[in-house]
Symmetry: D2
Subunit: 356 residues, 4 copies
């Protein structure tokens, strides 16, 4: 048990607060001999980095990652890889309001309830800034998985507006500020986000993450199921409220006949005629594309005044100023990818351990 | 890491196959001095037990649980509690078809892909019969939690037909064969299940589980989040494809203003004016009702012939005879309750460890 | 964390008390496809079995092991292997003295101090009868390691009388009641044990366990060191007070020049000219014989009256009647072998996981 | 499983190499609200710091520790505490000899055997410089344990010369360069170390660590035994070859009557008339002083030329120049103390978790 670690064999531990001097991740259990340097990690950091469009928080963090250990002469040594990111733009502001009042939708009250007090500067440890460490660790996981496995995430819904899957265009995803694969939906989302921001309001989103190239056989039948690990991984991200594998809740609404993924002989084993399962059967990968969707709630920090209580138990009102994402789900996309990579790297090692 | 264990401090490990001599669970880390005997466990076993109505499998298993260790003079001793259930009704049948062909929707192919071969008798380890061990362990967890925490699950959807929450009647849940809290929906569900069974088809369902009386402060802010643990717990159950906390995917579709659970002063801390969060904020319980929903896919074993491949890679057809639940979600209800109890007992001990 | 489990990937969990109906071990993480049945396990059980000579306890337990799960058609399936042993000879006796008074050297007082009460029948969970489960699990570990790795333990000291290593005869070990490799020492040990038994006294012993055929590279440099795992494994056995790797405490008494294991080119890598290291350098196996010694204290249950206190805090005297080993170290030999096998099997999988 | 972590609930993870930019420890699971700042940690760092007398390595490292996270307004927040130490005196030297030849007694060969290559600069991850991170983490553990528990280590043997326990003087320990409690032995040790250094040789030592004030009841009866955890902790330290609890190997050489720690009524429970057990019975603390001894081999880096092989498998000779401790056991003393503190803090939380 470790409250700030994830994974069994490919295991990472993160540290750091929103307004401390730095944050980081230790990646333990990484196979040796993998070529990696900071330039393999930084692009993923940049993808998550704030302040890149008007649709995300204006906090300016370069998020420059530094490899502090575990890599020698350009290759992993099998020892812990410490990845550190300095916090630069900790705007010196007055936190007295957050310190005294609990922000609805935030961990403010629950932290106090658990620990008796908290670091109230920007949410402290509960800030989604922690996800920078995940993205750094995830970049190492991608290297472990190798080029044969491709991981890709994008939003399929924003503010209740879903993409049209018939317009799905892989090339579009990185061509807009929303990781949106539907060029038509981009426009709708843009105005929705602009409206929300102007209204002092916020929006939720659904991120879908797929992994191709995962061989059949990763996972385990009971408690270390591949889908259970993915569920834990995604639900550990800030602001998430739901996780689906394959067709997810839709599976509960169709019949067994409709839901069945029939098989026919393929080149390297069975080929599935559909993928309602999302690439996982009985907790074990089936060789098809892994599909996982995660629901992000709307940003809890909004300008609209909300009823709350103070630490002293008095009724109060709060409107959260500061630099916030109008839709945290957007910057959740690289985080979801990182968690997928981290789960898969761990499962790869677990499978190799037991089955050689 | 343990492939067949769940939990950190209150940790259980299950063993056994569908058609072996017995199955069981070892519960480790249980606090000492808790009064318990078989009669505290058997009622939950009976709730999950097959063959109680025409809507579930006709396999006849008494599922009589026996405490083999860890209890002395009627109280837990703090040492491992082994709970064993003998398999009685292993109908001697011909498994040659399952052995030779992969059943769609089952772990047949993925087991073979992972381990090289499998126990094909009734699914072996991948059979949902494993959940009997969870329910037994869950009964111990309930004792650890004590009477102040109430755990309750029911179906909110079956075959795509949702309950009407305005008709929610707690007393109805145990008065029908579907754990349905809406007396009107019962009739619709009954005919849907009857139709599916006659058609050689099957249906999915959504189970909601709530826990009341959980104090604020259980959970952790990053990777041992209460909601992440619940997600892993529920997604580890057979046939599940999705998990939601609170309003779940709905949160992604409403605005921050609509989603905010405002607070006012209450008797013992803040009182929430709504519970979209499902009782968890920043991974830590907030004192409100914990709400978790789980999607069960329709039973994969159906009489309708489906395309598949044989172990030798030849195209084939299969229709799964045998005694199967037309809707596995129904018997999933006591399992979902057990997993909620097991997660909460673990979190209780984790919280006590760190925060005294 | 699990109080009754050992190992990371090849992980076993034991359950059961001295005077309960049965005891057992669940072996989780076992690679699939390994041929095994009860006849592979029973010989090791028989080696540990009580009542085989006048030098061990006269409790008569057949210790018949039964594989309850995880093996199908004679091969491991990769799922949990439950090994169960029924308790047969629970002599119905009066435990009121043990229940009321703390036996010196036993866990009686500390159990009460920890848990508030205890199963006083024959020591309950603290009885060395638990080691039967380890021996069963160890037999599976041997199968995982395969024939290339040989594990062998024997006593090098009993009652302070050490063997003469110049007389070391491998064939002698199984030809006497003491697992003694020195045929001359056997006689001395025999009379020492006879004397102790007649005096109502008891003796300690030192067990050495060696493993040959372990390839270089198993272990890890910092906290999962092979020697640290062995130390934990051996110190977890009942009545142990010390563990040494290689020359152990002797290393502290000689110079660096004397202690150095020089190397020369060998057939498959460096060949060591001596083995003070006991086959482990920097926590990782070096390809040489693994050597581990464990000190067993004299049996705490002796007929000689000793001062103690009652549960109520009154001064008292106790002399432990019943059927006890005059030297528990003797029957410790197969247990030490089992723990060595279990640690090595775990390390084999851990190494394969990280390094392929 | 984590190769670079130790502990279950109070768990720390270390990172860093001998010649990297820095090293550190993340302490996870620390209870909240404990007052701590760098000044609570630095004194322990200073105790381990090299270059303080002619009897230790002349590498000059200030070992200044910096708290990077987990502490807010002078108190622990319950989130991960990252302690970082910069490496300052990485003398730019020619490592080509170490890179090409395996140093006897070092992990050079085994690292290569495991990982395929290694960071050869000063031993990389296998350098005892890693223990600086343990000492930092141990300082936090001491704070968790509080003032009621006192931990103290010292050498009882150096180069085969044991202290005379009749001359044991607690005040002497910090008054000499050897943590020697026997003022008379100091002189002998001094000349022994001087001789060894001049001879290009080295010496081993035995460190004893005691903890007073530990309440009865910490530990567990089977695999999480307090003594098993201590054994793993001590054997994980660089250059250790043996661990004893209480009278250790001596227990194997005396009779049960001699070894028995009799009890009489005390003020707060049984009082033990002797402490051969070293404060642990059946894996659980008995309220008496915890006693643990650890054997350190002589420093493997010596100037005397030794036979070895090159990475290419050729015969060679090596004499290790550089700045080395003539007796690593001396600086092992604060490390042994740190590991005792870390094990006890973990056990304290584990006990609280299960037993409230």
């Amino acid at each position: 048990m470790s409250y700030n670690s994830f994974g069994h064999l490919f295991r990472f531990t993160t540290w750091g607060e929103s307004h401390g001097p730095a944050l980081g991740a230790i990646v333990d259990g990484c196979p040796p001999g993998i070529a990696i340097d900071e330039s393999d990690i930084q692009p993923w950091m940049d993808k998550r980095r704030p302040g890149q469009s008007r649709h995300t928080t204006q906090r300016r963090e370069p998020d420059t990652v530094r490899i502090m250990s575990g890599v020698f002469e350009g290759k992993t040594t099998g020892t812990p890889i410490h990845l550190m990111v300095e916090n630069v733009d900790q705007r010196s502001k007055d936190y007295s309001e957050i310190a005294a009042k609990y922000r609805p939708g935030h961990a403010d009250f629950t932290y106090d309830a658990k620990y008796g007090f908290r670091d109230y500067r920007g949410g402290g440890r509960s800030s989604a800034r922690e996800t920078a460490a995940r993205v750094a660790a995830g970049a190492v996981a991608r290297k472990v998985l190798g080029d044969g496995i491709a991981i890709r995430a994008y939003l399929t819904e924003l503010g209740g507006v879903a993409i049209d899957r018939d317009r799905f265009d892989d090339a579009a995803i990185d061509a807009n500020d929303f990781f949106c694969p539907d060029p038509v939906a981009v426009g709708e989302w843009e105005s929705a986000v602009d409206t929300a921001r102007k209204d002092g309001n916020s929006l939720g989103a659904v991120a879908e993450c797929i992994a191709t190239g995962v061989p059949a056989g990763w996972g385990a039948p009971v408690y270390a199921k591949l889908d259970a690990e993915l569920a834990a991984a995604m639900m550990s991200i800030h602001a998430t409220k739901g996780v689906e594998i394959g067709n997810g809740f839709e599976a509960a609404r169709i019949t067994g006949r409709e839901n069945a993924d029939e098989m026919e002989p393929g080149n390297t084993g069975p080929r599935f005629l559909s993928n309602n399962a999302g690439g996982v059967l009985g907790g074990i990968s089936n060789g098809d594309t892994i599909i996982c969707r995660t629901a992000f709630k709307p940003t809890s920090s909004i300008l609209t005044p909300l009823k709350t209580v103070t630490r002293d138990g008095e009724a109060a009102e709060i409107s959260t100023k500061g630099r916030h994402d109008p839709c945290v789900g957007i910057r959740g996309v690289p985080v979801v990818e990182a968690m997928m990579a981290l789960v898969l790297a761990d499962q790869m090692l677990l499978h190799r351990a037991q089955c050689g």
